[in-house]
């Protein structure tokens, strides 16, 4: 399944086209396309340079700091790291089973995080692509364009995200750098006042979530063939599922299915992930390339995130999302939906599920309980997996007898999708880029393919968001022969 285009046989005879950075995804990314002398795309690589130093940042710290410390790894999904670290430290402190209150509070926090993350991605980052088309003027294809043309949608997006943040704040105790999840449980439950505060808006949140799913379906079916084909690749899919096969983003076993939906493994204990997931390295990328060992590095890469989760699960335990899942699944005609743009649809089904699940939990008296922590005998190894908004997230820590972390291994969602993003870029490049004349619509299409995965390429830094898009064409000796400077306004100038 690993494309024949990834590593060319004779790279010395290729031209290189470099696109950097990728706009509207987090951090610094660039795309390198290598052409042969016939102007055909022979290599495509998404370079991500920011996943360095995570483990070093963690090593040497006491384990009890982990749930708070790891939030600083990423300004985009701190709650995912918070919860993943908390789950791993549960194992360290010997917790066999969280109390009902602790587990439900954590789940509520996770639903809030996923809700706000998905709302941001759809309404802010991707709806411009989908509402206006990929060839629309760049200046128009941003959130302001959405607001001008669809003011009600933009307002709903802002308020959905705000609601998710409120859930996070009330369950974690703080707006950011929350301390809600701690080794063995949580440090607070919800008061009656807090529950009522969240309940008063939940019906509106569910209603807007339904509207969002209706919107993406309308968009998708308006150009069904195109949406099914664009950047589409056949891949394995990996996600967590509950013991009964239900969609679950907080806990469960790991399920992997191949491109046709056949089971590779099911309900695997994630604490043994090193027995069946391996992390490959390539000399051109700092980011690793995970794969399923039984299939091998060549064909064992997989996709994670909403597309994988909605494809892999047997059902949603909330009625509105389950109804939408069945409709989504139908377009696969008996196979998993492999459409890369299907990520957007699946993401909004998850958004709807989160809204429904939040409502269910707010009516559950356990979330106001007082039994918050359970612990057992200390252990030296803690491993956890959760389904972060962007996909499966692994945290693995080993501590010494003083509780100091001496080993840490994180496989973040974007890393799990690393090979898949390269494959989608290759698909787009092979279809739309020919010759050495880069055009804005062609670049937009590559970016749209990457954005479908909602990658998080780095943490907040001050270099981010300030660099315009630059495209360089390099010859086989890495000598630039052309360069285009693309401003956020859409203006393009040749700078070489």
């Amino acid at each position: 399944m690993s494309g024949e285009l990834e590593t060319a046989n004779n790279p010395e005879n290729l031209e290189r086209i470099v696109i950097e950075p990728v706009t509207r995804v987090e951090g610094h990314g660039k795309v390198t396309l290598l052409q042969d002398k016939n102007k055909q795309i022979r290599q495509a690589r998404l370079h991500i340079v920011e996943f360095r130093g995570f483990e070093k940042f963690i090593q040497g710290r006491p384990y009890w700091e982990l749930p708070v410390l790891v939030q600083r790894l990423c300004g985009i999904c701190p709650v995912s790291h918070h919860l993943a670290a908390a789950k791993a430290t549960d194992m360290l402190v010997g917790t066999q089973q969280l109390t009902a209150t602790a587990e439900k509070i954590r789940r509520l926090m996770h639903f809030g995080q996923t809700l706000q993350s998905h709302a941001l991605h759809f309404f802010h980052l991707c709806s411009p692509d989908l509402l206006f088309g990929f060839d629309d003027e760049v200046r128009h294809r941003n959130i302001v364009g959405v607001i001008e043309d669809h003011p009600e949608i933009a307002r709903q997006g802002v308020l959905l995200r705000k609601y998710g943040q409120q859930v996070i704040q009330l369950t974690s105790g703080k707006r950011i750098h929350g301390t809600g999840a701690i080794p063995g449980g949580v440090n607070k439950s919800l008061s009656r006042e807090e529950v009522d505060f969240l309940l008063k808006d939940i019906e509106q949140i569910i209603s807007w979530s339904v509207d969002a799913v209706m919107l993406i379906k309308r968009i998708f079916f308006e150009q069904l063939d195109y949406h099914l084909a664009f950047a589409t690749i056949d891949s394995n899919m990996l996600s967590m599922v509950r013991s009964d096969g239900a969609f679950d983003i907080y806990d469960g076993g790991l399920r992997a299915r191949d491109k046709n939906g056949n089971t590779i493994f099911d309900h695997n204990d994630y604490t043994g992930y090193t027995d069946y997931i391996k992390e490959g390295v390539k000399n051109w990328s700092y980011m690793k390339f995970p794969f399923i060992e039984s299939i091998g590095a060549e064909n064992g890469w997989y996709r994670v995130g909403p597309l994988a989760r909605v494809n892999n699960c047997d059902f949603f335990d909330t009625p509105l999302a389950e109804k939408e899942r069945l409709e989504f699944k139908a377009i696969g005609n008996g196979r998993p939906v492999q459409s890369t743009l299907g990520y957007h649809w699946a993401r909004l089904i998850e958004l709807l599920h989160c809204s429904e699940a939040i409502k269910q939990l707010l009516h559950d008296p356990d979330i106001s309980g007082n039994d918050l922590i359970s612990k057992g005998a200390m252990q030296n190894c803690g491993i956890s997996v959760i389904e972060a908004p962007r996909g499966t997230l692994f945290h693995h820590y080993e501590i010494d007898d003083d509780g100091i972390v001496n080993k840490a291994n994180l496989i973040v969602s974007t890393t799990n999708n690393n090979q898949a993003m390269n494959e989608s870029i290759r698909q787009v490049a092979s279809h739309y880029l020919d010759g050495n004349q880069l055009t804005e619509p062609l670049l937009n299409q590559i970016e749209v393919a990457i954005r479908a995965y909602d990658p998080c390429l780095s943490c907040a830094t001050h270099a981010m968001g300030k660099m315009p898009l630059e495209i360089s064409l390099l010859d086989e000796n890495d000598k630039p022969v052309d360069r285009l400077h693309k401003r956020a306004t859409g203006h393009i100038e040749r700078t070489l």
Partner: protein, 160 residues
């Protein structure tokens, strides 16, 4: 959960574990120790669309952030709503946040100002640099004097 909204908002942001990116949240922590009349303090990792809601019912806002390009120790300037390239990322600039505010509220943005404190090192795990600390302390002194002054004074101070 529902409390009085003060008319002046001081909104700082940054990642406390990314070297001088901690300038914003550290200023937030410092100002929390003080009694600033009619002032709300807010901090976050980065600006995002929902922060447009936090600007509602305010008279003025001061954004506080580390900067890789500001003159040392800090620069104080007036902000205008503007669409810029930060729309293309997960994070936003203050100007683009003001733009979202205007669009979703259908009204002109409130008077907004930027305090850009010069930072130098932003790698994960680094502490605040000594030079950044010095700049930050001067910035805190400036803020303490600023909050008691009128918006008209802020405008004068922000003139280039």
């Amino acid at each position: 959960m529902n409390r009085k909204t003060n008319l002046t908002l001081l909104f700082s942001w940054g990642n406390p574990s990314r070297g001088d990116d901690a300038i914003g949240p550290t200023i937030y922590e410092s100002l929390q120790q003080e009694t600033l009349a009619d002032v709300d303090l807010l901090t976050d990792f980065q600006l995002q669309i929902e922060h447009a809601i936090d600007l509602e019912r305010r008279e003025r806002v001061l954004f506080i952030d580390a900067s890789v390009s500001a003159l040392s120790p800090f620069e104080f300037s007036r902000l205008q709503a503007a669409e810029d390239e930060s729309y293309t990322s997960h994070a936003m600039s203050p100007a683009s946040l003001l733009c979202v505010y205007e669009k979703i509220n259908r009204q002109a943005a409130l008077p907004a100002f930027m305090l850009s404190v010069r930072g130098y090192e932003f790698d994960l795990g680094l502490p605040l640099s000594e030079k950044a600390k010095a700049n930050m302390n001067q910035a805190i002194n400036f803020i303490q004097q600023l909050v008691s002054r009128s918006t008209e004074d802020w405008n004068k101070l922000a003139e280039p």
